[in-house]
Assembly symmetry: C2
Homo-oligomer: 410 residues x 2
């Protein structure tokens, strides 16, 4: 949480953190520390145990004030940015040469003399140039390996964030429910499904999904996975738009929308329209059992490794392979079975800490929000993955998704 920043800074010996960017779009760290979206430049400076300061443009300061997260706020103009820019003879719209001098003047005013970390998603080349210049000017800039101060802080969600993730979860569940209903109501003729008078394709259904998402004010900057048959055997295959939707074939439907607030959600269901064959049933039961065992076991204090191991155990018991083989050095990669990790954090990004994998040895904490998504894949046949996004609590999990898990849409 944002309130953990001081503790995270202390443990790393950082006297200050600076978060910057030319917008909050695709800049989750900047979005996080200021609590709102701004369209232009922002510089957030926080000294250890002090109130942070936000410097932004005249155009954005109103938005930033309304968010109420940062109390000390000023503009580039008020701090004389234009004068510094003129002095360094910047000839283009983004006066890069003036920037390190401007930032140094802010850090000096804030009486920051110790180690400074710099964050935010920005072009590395310009960031390296900025760092070199700041160091020449005497600022002690220090890099970090993952998890950085901000990755650690963002890991545990605040009540306000949980409320927002719950809202996005409810809207996502509604969209997913409508997709299942669309499939249920399609005309079935000789094994083929029709949308209106046309043969239903993955592409057509995806367009429907996009429109439903839009009606819920949700975006899908990373797309949607809707894959039928063999395509579904590859967990990253988004689905072939020209594939026809046929009865009896496994469909993997994985939806990961982002709300206008920047928060994401992640939900997957797998099903067949009509009757499933034995293979599909076996896969589905293994995956559902793995998910149930995981959800029952998850709570504050357990590690990602422990829950991953349980999910694998459930799947192995039903005769499928799992990535455990790789971690035990028994194979270099598996093509079939449970071939990925069990889950990842969700918040202002769709993949963040904590992770539920064999490498996750830190105990989970209340306030973590993670996906629980076991899957089983059979090459040239299809895949089953079932995924909810859940909140970890002291007593178990609070499932933020709300959608049935049924194999057959009859």
């Amino acid at each position: 949480m944002l309130t953990d920043l001081d503790e995270e800074m202390r443990s790393r010996g950082l006297q200050a953190i600076v978060v910057l960017g030319d917008t909050t779009l695709s800049n989750p760290s900047l979005r996080y520390v200021i609590g709102c979206n701004i369209a232009r430049d922002g510089i957030y400076v926080k000294k250890f145990r002090r109130d942070p300061l936000l410097v932004t443009s005249n155009l954005d300061i109103g938005t930033a004030r309304r968010s109420g997260i940062v109390r000390r706020m000023t503009t580039f103009t008020e701090l004389g940015f234009e004068k510094i820019a003129a002095k360094f003879g910047s000839s283009n719209a983004y006066p890069a040469k003036a920037y390190p001098h401007f930032l140094t003047s802010i850090l000096r005013k804030e009486q920051i003399t110790g180690k400074v970390g710099i964050y935010g998603r920005n072009d590395l080349s310009a960031g390296i140039q900025l760092t070199d210049e700041l160091r020449r000017l005497g600022i002690k800039v220090s890099g970090e390996t993952s998890p950085t101060v901000l990755e650690s802080a963002r890991e545990t969600k605040s009540p306000r964030e949980i409320q927002e993730l719950r809202r996005v979860g409810a809207r996502t569940s509604e969209v997913a429910k409508s997709v299942v209903e669309t499939l249920r109501n399609m005309n079935r003729k000789r094994g083929r499904l029709h949308l209106g008078k046309e043969l239903a394709t993955i592409g057509m259904l995806k367009k429907r999904i996009s429109q439903r998402l839009a009606a819920e004010n949700l975006m899908t900057p990373e797309g949607t996975i809707l894959a039928i048959g063999a395509s579904g055997a590859d967990p990253h295959n988004a689905g072939n738009p020209h594939d026809r939707i046929r009865v009896g074939r496994l469909i993997v439907f994985d939806i990961f929308p982002q709300a206008e607030t920047g928060y994401w959600f992640d939900l997957t269901r797998s099903f067949v329209v009509g009757r499933a064959d034995r293979k599909a049933k076996e896969m589905f039961e293994a995956v559902l059992e793995a998910q149930n065992h995981s959800l029952d076991f998850l709570r504050e204090g357990v590690t990602g490794e422990e829950v991953m191991s349980r999910a694998c155990h459930a799947i192995e018991q039903r005769g499928f392979r799992t990535v455990r083989e790789i971690y035990e050095g028994k194979s270099r990669g598996i093509q079939s079975g449970f071939s990925h990790s069990l889950g990842h954090g969700v918040g202002l990004t769709i993949g963040e800490r904590p992770y539920l994998s064999f490498l996750s040895r830190t105990p989970l904490r209340a306030g973590h929000v993670v996906t629980v998504e076991p899957g089983v894949y059979l090459p040239r046949y299809g895949g089953v993955r079932i995924e909810d996004t859940v909140l970890i609590t002291s007593r178990g999990v609070d499932n933020l998704a709300n959608l049935d898990k049924e194999l057959e849409i009859t």
Copy 2:
């Protein structure tokens, strides 16, 4: 263009460029050099006058191969990443400690001993750590001020990119046209507009726009501006969802969608439903004239400053203030009139080089794609902005937008 990379590297004395990132999502530089979207890590290494090399995950190499832009391709696994990761005892999902060693081994294999630039939108803190480690390992990492090698290359669009921008422009124009038609067909009762049986609001119309965008496979990660009356007087105000749509009030409609290929478009129209008052007409005529003069004047060889000056002149002739006052030192900021720049480049981002402003003194080139968007704003009353996205050619401009410019929707 991508084919300019060697020339841009030569002029900066760079022996190699490295573009990296954990996905192409919101990483336009990585998307640009590999010509497709990948979901996971990629490292692109290009030595001066040599074919580039792409290292990516097993999951993404198929996608990257199909794009056909990079010919030399390999995976993290093939280059022994897992072994290096194990050696450095990485205990989390992103083995940050191993990364600089892995990258160094690639650069050595490529026989790169000179200056290296590193690009791609990534968290600065981790990038600074990576740079410090690479330098310790003997790599000559060098930062750049804007415009970087990649910003310069991306400025001029290739025929393939122009084709894609044209396609996005046509789809965006269709959506905008449908919005005008929706407004035209709304029931008008006592100055109020109705959508079905309800009083039409900005929020309701925005939802319609989102659904139309979805039907055209367009996303709007930065939202849409639809602002009526006083809200429109602030160029960055996205519009108040609860505002009712009334006849006779100025509406600013600015739409900036992104296609699944990563390319954006930018289009603005301003209008009133029903009859416009004299003030609105004066604003509209000034802005339209400024845009026409700009479009007539624009061609290869002119500078952004020259066209900006002409746009301002047209607006000043009609009695409105412009930002020229600021650049001439006559005022510190203007609240009314033409308060922003004339335009910016559009491509894999919605705001990039070249810029059409008083600071743009480099001649424009054929293949540049820019917005031309003069505006006039009157506080507490409203705004007018008219914007097309156009291709600069040797003889003039090729307008990629296709939508009438009419003040009154009757």
